[in-house]
C-alpha cells in the first residue's frame, strides 16, 4: 500500500509582482482556475503521483474583522502557496517535480521573496518553505492515482461489455455472466488494454510511524488524562464565556467577490475550496484549535481513512494549516458537487464537526458549547465561509469526471474481479455496480 502525503510551499510575493504572477499562473489554465494538464510551466498530467494540486495567492481579505475583538490586525503580505496531494513521500516527489518542471517552477517562484531565478537551490528552497499541515484528511489512504486510472478503465471496459452479453447469456444467469466478464478482463489484460497493478508493499518505515502514532497519541492523552480532566473543566467554562462574549460578525460577502469565486466552480463534478482567516485572539482559543486539529488528524488517519469523514463521502483531500506563527489558519479541500451542496452537507450532516474546529476562527457564527448552533445559523455561516474563501489561481485534478463515490465503486468492481464472490447474491450485487 502506498500512503499519501501532502506538500505546501509558501512564500511571500515580491512587492509589485502580484499582477505579473497572476497572469503567469493564469497562463497555465484552459478554463478559469482550471489547469491545462499539459501546460508548459508544470505539466501536471505527466506526473503519475499527483491527485490534486493548486496555486493559491493567499491574501488576507478579511484581516480587518479581528478589530471587532479589539485587536489590531497583524500585517500580512500576499503569499503564493503551491500545494498538492500525492502518492508516496514528499522528497522523492519534489525531485521528480524539479526533473520535469524546473524552468517553470523557477519562473513562478521568481515572483517570490527570497528566490532568485539564477543559481538557486530549488529543492532546498522548496523544503525550507514547506509548511506541514495541522491536520490532514485523505478520503482513502493507500489508493493511488495509478490505481484510480486503472480501475476507472476497468469499469469503463466492463460497462461497455456487460450490456452486449447480458441478454445473450441471460440476466438471471449470473455465474455465467461473471465467468464471461472475468475471461474478458483476462483477455483485455493480455492484449495490454487493461492493467491492474498489484499494490506496492507498504513502506516499513511509514507502517512503524503510523503504528506509533496510532498508539502513542491515545497513550499520551491517557497518561495526561488526570491533568487534562481538570484543565478541561476550566477550559470548558472559559470557552463558554468566550462564546457568549465574542462579537458575532454578520457581513455579507460582496457580489464581486462571489463572482470571482463562482467563475471557477462547477466546470466539472468536483470543486476546490481555499479559505484563510484569523484565529480568535487568546491562548484558550489557540490551544482548543490545536487540540481539536490534533484529534481531527488522528481520526482522519486511523478511523476515517476509507471513504467517509463522518457522514460526508464527497471530500477527496482536505487540510488545515496554521500560518503566521499560529495567528492565522488556512483550509483547503477538494470536494464533489457544487459549493451550495457542499455547504448544505456540512450544515446538515456534520455541522457539529465544523463547529468544533472553526468556532475558533474569527467571523465564525456563535456556537454553544462549541458543537451546537454555529453552522446552523445558516446565513451567518454561509456568509462567513464565502467571505473567507479565496480564489484558487490554478487547480489540477488528476481524474476529472470521477467523484469519490465513483472511485469507491470502481475499487469494489476491481475487488470483484480479483476475489470471487461466494454466493449468487454477492455476484448480483457486483454485477449491479457495473
Amino acid at each position: 500500500m502506498t500512503p499519501q502525503s501532502g506538500f505546501m510551499i509558501v512564500a511571500a510575493v515580491r512587492d509589485g509582482q502580484l499582477k505579473d504572477l497572476r497572469d503567469l499562473l493564469a497562463s497555465m489554465n484552459n478554463l478559469p482556475g482550471h489547469a491545462d494538464p499539459d501546460n508548459e510551466l508544470i505539466p501536471f498530467g505527466k506526473f503519475e503521483r499527483v491527485h490534486f494540486a493548486r496555486f493559491v495567492i493567499i491574501e488576507a481579505r478579511t484581516a480587518q474583522e479581528i478589530r471587532e475583538f479589539g485587536v489590531t490586525p497583524r500585517p500580512w503580505r500576499p503569499a503564493l502557496a503551491f500545494l498538492g496531494d500525492i502518492d508516496g513521500d514528499m522528497q522523492t516527489f519534489l525531485l521528480e517535480l524539479i526533473e520535469r518542471a524546473e524552468p517553470g517552477l523557477k519562473k513562478i517562484f521568481s515572483h517570490c521573496e527570497g528566490f532568485s531565478e539564477e543559481n538557486q537551490d530549488l529543492l532546498g528552497w522548496m523544503n525550507a518553505n514547506n509548511i506541514n499541515a495541522g491536520a490532514n484528511y485523505v478520503n482513502w489512504i493507500g489508493r493511488t492515482v495509478r490505481q484510480i486510472h486503472e480501475e476507472a478503465a476497468l469499469h469503463r471496459s466492463l460497462s461497455i461489455y456487460l450490456p452486449k452479453i447480458a441478454d445473450d447469456v441471460g440476466r438471471e444467469n449470473v455465474r455465467a455472466l461473471r465467468q464471461k466478464l472475468l475471461s474478458y478482463v483476462e483477455m483485455e489484460k493480455y492484449k495490454g488494454r487493461l492493467t491492474l497493478t498489484p499494490p506496492e508493499p507498504t513502506p516499513p518505515e511509514w507502517k512503524m510511524r503510523n503504528l506509533l502514532h496510532m498508539i502513542g497519541i491515545p497513550l499520551i492523552l491517557l497518561l495526561l488524562s488526570p491533568l487534562l480532566l481538570v484543565i478541561a473543566l476550566i477550559f470548558a467554562l472559559r470557552l463558554r464565556m468566550l462564546e457568549r462574549s465574542d462579537p458575532e460578525l454578520f457581513i455579507r460577502p460582496s457580489r464581486e467577490h462571489l463572482a470571482e469565486l463562482t467563475v471557477q466552480e462547477d466546470q466539472d463534478v468536483s470543486n476546490q475550496y481555499s479559505v484563510f482567516g484569523d484565529v480568535k485572539p487568546g491562548p484558550v482559543r489557540l490551544l482548543t484549535f490545536k487540540f481539536i486539529l490534533l484529534l481531527t488528524d488522528y481520526v482522519a488517519r486511523h478511523i476515517y481513512n476509507h471513504g467517509f469523514l463522518a457522514r460526508i463521502k464527497t471530500i477527496h483531500f482536505a487540510r488545515w494549516v496554521f500560518m503566521d506563527n499560529n495567528h492565522r489558519i488556512f483550509f483547503a479541500s477538494n470536494y464533489d458537487g457544487s459549493h451550495e451542496s457542499y455547504m448544505d452537507d456540512f450544515i446538515n450532516k456534520v455541522g457539529w464537526g465544523l463547529n468544533l474546529t472553526f468556532t475558533n476562527g474569527v467571523g465564525y457564527p456563535t456556537t454553544r458549547w462549541i458543537v451546537k448552533e454555529g453552522a446552523n445559523r445558516e446565513h451567518a455561516f454561509k456568509y462567513t465561509q464565502r467571505r473567507h474563501q479565496i480564489p484558487t489561481e490554478v487547480w489540477y485534478k488528476a481524474y476529472p469526471g470521477l467523484t469519490a463515490v465513483d472511485l469507491a465503486r470502481n475499487s469494489r468492481i476491481r475487488q470483484g474481479v480479483e476475489i470471487r464472490q461466494s454466493n449468487d447474491a454477492e455476484i448480483r450485487e457486483w454485477l449491479s455496480l457495473i
Binding site: L162, A310, H379, P400, V405, R409
Partner: protein, 504 residues
C-alpha cells in the same frame, strides 16, 4: 394553540396558499414599466387576490410579482433592494456561472431564450391572471383599467392552456407538494426530524417567518424612523425595531420549459420495440410514477392499496432503486429523505449514525429533503397530445410545455439546489452517466463522459441501460421575481414620485 385562521392570510398573495386549479384559464403577462407614476397609480387599485379562503371560491384572481429591475424602476431605494438575495438581484440569466449551475448551457442557454435571456430582456413585472373557463378576456379588460396602457408595455403574453390535471407528456402534474405548516406546530430541531415529513416550516416558502433551520431568511428590512412610509409595513419578527418589506412575500421562479412530446414518446416506442406496455413501463421508470400517478415503490403497509400511496411514501424500502430507479424524475426532484439515513433507536444508535458508521458505501448520499422543497404553481401550454397519438410519425407538431413556477423563500438553497444538485447532477445518489431523464440537458462532462444514459437497476443483477437519450425539455426563458405581501404592495404603490426613473 393557534388556529390557521390566525395566520395573516389577508396579507399574502393567494398563490402561496392556493393553486387556483378551478380557474382553468390563465394569462401570464410579462410587462415593462414605461411610466412609473402611472404604474403605481394602477397598482394602488389593482385587485390583487389575497390568501383568505373564500366561500364560494372566487371566479377570478390576480397575482403580481416584480423583477429587481421592476422594483428599481418603481423607485425602491437601492438600500432596500440590497436586502434581497444575490440570486434575485443578479437574476436567473445574469451570470454565466449561475447558468452553468442550472444546466442552462448548450441549447438551454440564455442566448437562445425567447425572453429573459439578457439584462435588457428581463421583464419588470409579471402579472398572473386566473379565471374560470371563458372569462379570462373579460377579466383582463377589468384588470387593465384606465392607467394600464400608459403605465406598461406588454413584452409578451406567455402561452398557457389547460389540458386537465396532466403535463404535456401525459403524467399527472404537481402531485407532490409540501404542506405548509402555517401554525408552526412541527419542530425544526434536527433531533425530531430523522424521517421525511411533508410538513414544511412557513419560512421556507414565505419570507419573514422561521425556516427549517429555525432562522429568518435574509430579506429587506427598513428602519421606519428614516423612512416614514415604511410604518405601513409589518414589523420584523426577529428585529422589532425594523419594518419587514419581505414579510408575507416570496420569491417566484418562472421558467418556460418546452417539451418535445412526440420526441419523447417516439424515442420510447422505438426502445420498447413498439410494444405499448413496455413503452409505458419505460416512461413510468423515467418519471418515477405510472401514467395515472401511482408511485413505483411497493406498498409496504399491508391492507392499503397502492392508489392511496400517491404521495404517502418514501424511498426507504427501495434504497437500490429496484422499483423506482434512483435517477427517476420525481425521485431526483424530491428524494424524500430525512435528516438521518435511517431512524435512530436510542442515543447510542444516533451517535453511531451521526459519526457515519455502519453505512453501506452507496448510502446517505443525498441531502435532507426538507431544506430543498419547492411549492410549485406551474401551468401547461400547447395542445394536448395523447401518447398513442404522439408515437405516430405524423403527430401534429406544436409548441408544448410548461410555464414552470415555484415559490421559495431561498432561491439558491431551494430552486437552484434542486436544479443543480439533484436534477442536472450526473452523479446524483451515485448514478452513472445520467441526468434527469425528463429535464436534463445531455451535455457531456468536461472529461467527455456522457450524461445521456438512463439506468434502471435490476434485482437480477446487471442494470438495464438506455443510451443516447435525446433532450426532451428545453429552457426557453426564465426569471426570478419577488411576489410581495399586500402591505408591501401598498408601500410600493405609495413610493414618492421623485425617486422614480433612475434605476440603480
Amino acid at each position: 394553540m393557534k388556529e390557521s385562521s390566525d395566520f395573516e392570510f389577508d396579507d399574502l398573495q393567494g398563490l402561496l396558499r392556493f393553486g387556483y386549479g378551478k380557474l382553468t384559464d390563465t394569462s401570464f403577462m410579462l410587462l415593462n414599466i414605461v411610466n412609473a407614476d402611472l404604474a403605481k397609480k394602477w397598482l394602488e387599485t389593482a385587485p390583487v387576490s389575497n390568501a383568505v379562503a373564500q366561500d364560494p371560491p372566487p371566479e377570478t384572481a390576480l397575482q403580481i410579482a416584480f423583477s429587481v429591475e421592476g422594483l428599481r424602476t418603481l423607485g425602491l431605494e437601492e438600500s432596500v433592494v440590497e436586502g434581497f438575495s444575490d440570486e434575485f438581484i443578479v437574476g436567473m440569466a445574469g451570470d454565466e456561472s449561475r447558468s452553468r449551475r442550472l444546466g442552462d448551457v448548450g441549447s438551454n442557454g440564455p442566448p437562445q431564450w425567447k425572453w429573459g435571456g439578457n439584462a435588457v430582456q428581463v421583464p419588470h413585472v409579471l402579472l398572473l391572471l386566473y379565471a374560470t373557463r371563458g372569462r379570462i378576456n373579460a377579466w383582463q379588460k377589468t384588470i387593465e383599467g384606465e392607467y394600464f396602457s400608459g403605465a406598461f408595455q406588454l413584452l409578451q403574453e406567455l402561452p398557457t392552456l389547460h389540458i386537465g390535471d396532466i403535463e404535456p407528456f401525459g403524467f399527472p402534474d404537481s402531485v407532490s407538494q409540501p404542506t405548509v405548516d402555517w401554525m408552526q406546530r412541527q419542530s425544526t430541531d434536527t433531533h425530531e426530524r430523522d424521517r421525511y415529513s411533508n410538513l414544511l416550516a412557513p419560512g421556507e416558502i414565505v419570507l419573514g417567518y422561521r425556516n427549517e433551520y429555525g432562522q429568518y431568511t435574509a430579506r429587506p428590512l427598513i428602519d421606519s424612523r428614516k423612512d416614514k412610509l415604511a410604518t405601513m409595513l409589518p414589523g420584523a419578527e426577529d428585529d422589532p425595531s425594523l419594518k419587514d418589506f419581505g414579510r408575507n412575500g416570496t420569491y417566484l421562479v418562472l421558467r418556460q420549459l418546452s417539451q418535445d412530446v412526440p420526441g419523447f414518446w417516439q424515442f420510447l416506442d422505438q426502445v420498447a420495440d413498439h410494444i405499448p406496455e413496455k413503452r409505458e413501463q419505460l416512461a413510468a421508470a423515467m418519471v418515477g410514477r405510472e401514467l395515472d400517478g401511482t408511485p413505483l415503490v411497493p406498498a409496504h403497509i399491508p391492507g392499503i392499496s397502492r392508489k392511496e400511496y400517491e404521495n404517502d411514501f418514501t424511498y426507504d424500502p427501495d434504497p437500490k432503486g429496484n422499483y423506482c430507479p434512483l435517477g427517476a424524475h420525481v425521485r431526483r426532484s424530491n428524494p424524500r429523505t430525512g435528516d438521518l439515513p435511517t431512524s435512530a433507536c436510542g442515543p447510542l444508535d444516533r451517535l453511531i449514525k451521526i459519526l457515519g458508521f455502519g453505512q453501506r458505501p452507496d448510502e446517505d448520499l443525498i441531502a435532507s429533503s426538507r431544506f430543498h422543497r419547492l411549492l410549485r404553481r406551474g401551468r401547461t401550454y400547447g395542445p394536448v397530445l395523447a401518447p398513442k397519438d404522439a408515437i405516430k410519425p405524423d403527430a401534429p407538431v406544436a409548441e408544448r410545455g410548461i410555464q414552470f413556477i415555484c415559490l421559495v423563500g431561498n432561491i439558491s438553497r431551494q430552486f437552484e439546489f434542486v436544479q443543480n444538485a439533484w436534477t442536472m447532477n450526473s452523479k446524483f445518489d451515485g448514478v452513472q452517466d445520467e441526468k434527469d431523464p425528463m429535464l436534463g440537458n445531455r451535455e457531456p462532462l468536461m472529461s467527455g463522459e456522457s450524461t445521456d444514459h438512463f439506468n434502471s437497476p435490476d434485482p437480477s443483477g446487471p442494470m438495464r441501460t438506455i443510451c443516447h437519450l435525446p433532450q426532451f425539455v428545453t429552457t426557453l426563458g426564465g426569471g426570478y421575481f419577488f411576489m410581495p405581501g399586500l402591505r408591501a404592495l401598498k408601500y410600493i404603490s405609495a413610493l414618492p414620485a421623485n425617486r422614480t426613473g433612475s434605476p440603480s
